[in-house]
Symmetry: C2
DNA sequence: ATTATCTATAGATCTATAGATAATGC
DNA sequence: ATTATCTATAGATCTATAGATAATGC
């Protein structure tokens, strides 16, 4: 009713449609219909589709980064801790399923939309990676985990946690897994993710 | 010049653009420009954009399946063999990089385009999975590899081999890795993929 | 004659804006 | 008066087709 409501409705609708249909697929008409207004309203509040996207992204990046930061704050050097971090990362990707696909689409098709984040992002990555790189190096030295760089470890975790979720459309539409089967498959993948990461770090001597 | 040439030119251009821009992004105009004809020619030869896509896909599915079949023909029960299969799978995904992303887009947005493959695909998967499921079970029984189902093993390999390549746009556009750095990163990922898979299968007793 | 190619155009649909009207806040 | 909302429409662009013209194969 009041300004804030419609504006928020539009942002919520936009987020839903972007995530569901991708950047190109989420037309202003579709978003407007979902928000229960005419598409002219989107332009009234946000001028352009790009800016709506950036607004949506903005509300996310903050949240995502703090979640990721919390996740990386742990002292990563113990195998059990890394196993738990893997679970948290899996759940993180799981609860942001289609967001990752959206992010990849935009990175590929409209990297300009992400420009304003690049330097910021780079700085965050930079500090996190030097700190964790150091910790990882010491853990390897002390023989707590097998030889690995932090970059490889991070890429390993992202890899095993995100991949299944990116293939979700295949599970849904091609294999036609029913929700129950999918749920149990995903639970399997979560266990497997932890096994893959921790086994790789165990010292076999 | 002759009919076959233009028709082939169009298919080649279509494949290139679909892979580069995705299904939605590869407009008939773009494909026509790439092929050096007017877009009316695409309709003359193939009637619709959907049919062009299906023609392109057709030429691929055969090739991909035979590659995949060759890859799965090995008796999968020895850790070294599985390690080599992982390398082959990584190279397979690497040489079909953007095809996987295209496939995921179509599976999500236009699953109807894949309908004609579903039953066929299902049959292939079905036979392959029962055969390999049995082999895997025996290998586990004989103590050659640690307890795992073939489905999990297959999903593990696909996961560790495909993920990095799906994140390629992020490496290119956000991290702005130069080709040299990317190449060495990918070589790292390839080694890591093998390590992850084989370590998970080793008997630790 | 048949096949290949182009121009022109129809009909959808998309983003964006102009301008009229309704609602709200003094 | 200002803010919010809608209708109508401009201007791009996309897929698809009709119909004219050029090239090719008898």
């Amino acid at each position: 009713m009041s300004k804030d409501n419609k504006e928020q409705d539009i942002l919520r609708a936009a987020e839903k449609m972007f995530v569901l249909k991708g950047f190109k697929g989420a037309t202003t008409n579709l978003i407007a219909a979902e928000a229960g207004v005419t598409h002219a309203m989107l332009h009234y509040y946000f001028r352009t589709k790009d800016q709506i996207f950036l607004k949506v992204l903005d509300s996310y990046v903050g949240q995502m980064r703090s979640e990721l930061k919390a996740l990386m704050e742990e002292d990563v050097y113990d195998i059990d801790v890394i196993g738990r971090v893997t679970e948290v990362m899996f759940d993180f990707f799981n609860s942001h399923r289609r967001h990752v696909a959206l992010f990849l689409e935009v990175a590929a098709d409209r990297p300009d939309l992400l420009d304003s984040y690049v330097s910021d992002f780079g700085r965050f990555i930079g500090t996190a990676f030097t700190a964790h790189g150091e910790r990882t190096r010491r853990a390897v030295e002390k023989g707590q985990i097998r030889d690995i760089s932090f970059l490889s470890l991070f890429a390993d975790i992202v890899t095993v946690c995100s991949s299944t979720l990116l293939f979700e459309p295949v599970l849904d539409n091609l294999f036609k897994l029913d929700p129950k089967a999918k749920e149990s498959f995903l639970a399997d993948r979560r266990r497997e993710a932890v096994i893959l990461i921790t086994d790789r770090l165990k010292i076999t001597d």
